[in-house]
């Protein structure tokens, strides 16, 4: 299982801030996970297939599309940050 967290605009668009997911065999990295989420359709396709940038983190470290995803990881997706 992996944990996926969603924040801010993305959390609202998807209607959830957290899910546990059995890691699909086809998913080896962040790019693969994004593709799996896009394929869910509806708000997921809109959010992950749309023009807005969505950043990712693996185990609380910023991660690019090539970053590996392993069983037990905490993945997060969120819009570009706007603190300070």
């Amino acid at each position: 299982m992996i944990t996926i967290l969603y924040f801010a605009r993305l959390r609202e668009a998807l209607g959830t801030g957290r899910e546990e997911l059995a890691l699909p065999a086809s998913v080896a990295n962040i790019a693969g996970l994004r593709a799996a989420l896009v394929s869910r359709g509806g708000a997921w396709t809109e959010a992950f297939g749309g023009p807005r940038r969505i950043r990712a983190a693996v185990n609380q470290q910023m991660a690019d599309d090539a970053a590996a995803v392993h069983d037990g990881d905490e993945i997060a997706f969120f819009p570009p940050v706007t603190g300070g």
Binding site: Q60, A76, V81, G83, G84
Partner: protein, 156 residues
């Protein structure tokens, strides 16, 4: 090094005194306080709510301070960032850097703030007369962080 994420307000003077207490190596302290404005993108803002990613937020700011320590003489630093609902004139973020000399204190303080704006997972949602809206990231903030990559360390 201290990083705190909290809903409560902070007192910069109290934090500054605590940061340098009893340490005679400190010759300079630079600080930055960010404050909620009442206007953004031409619209009146009545309040804003800050969301963050507990755990990653603290770690990312600690990593930024560690980077600053690698580039400048930083004796100690503290970052306090508020979350929850804030109103115009409220304090939102505090960065204080204690150093031997002012050049390092100023530079490290600005570096920490510029990186915090682009790396630390916080998101602002503001309320205007039209309702609420998520604040978009600004290209100017990316540029401010990017310029540190082109520069070496500047002491003195």
């Amino acid at each position: 090094m201290a990083v705190r994420i909290q809903t409560a307000d902070f007192d910069a003077g109290v934090e500054m005194a605590a940061l340098r207490r009893g340490n005679a190596a400190v010759g300079a302290v630079a600080s930055f306080v960010g404050i909620v404005r009442d206007v953004n993108e031409g619209d009146r803002v009545s309040e804003m709510t800050l969301e963050h990613y507990p755990g990653m937020t603290e770690k990312s700011i600690e990593a930024i301070i560690t980077q600053a320590r690698g580039r400048w003489d930083v004796i100690d630093a503290v970052v306090v960032h508020r979350v929850g609902t804030l109103k115009p004139t409220d304090q939102i973020v505090l960065v204080i850097v204690a150093s031997g000399h002012r050049g390092d204190a100023f530079a490290a303080c600005e570096f920490i703030m510029d990186y915090l704006k682009t790396q630390a997972p916080f998101w602002k949602k503001e309320r205007t007369g039209e309702g609420t809206r998520w604040v978009d990231a600004r290209a100017a903030d990316d540029a401010a962080a990017e310029r540190w990559k082109a520069q070496g360390s500047s002491s003195d």
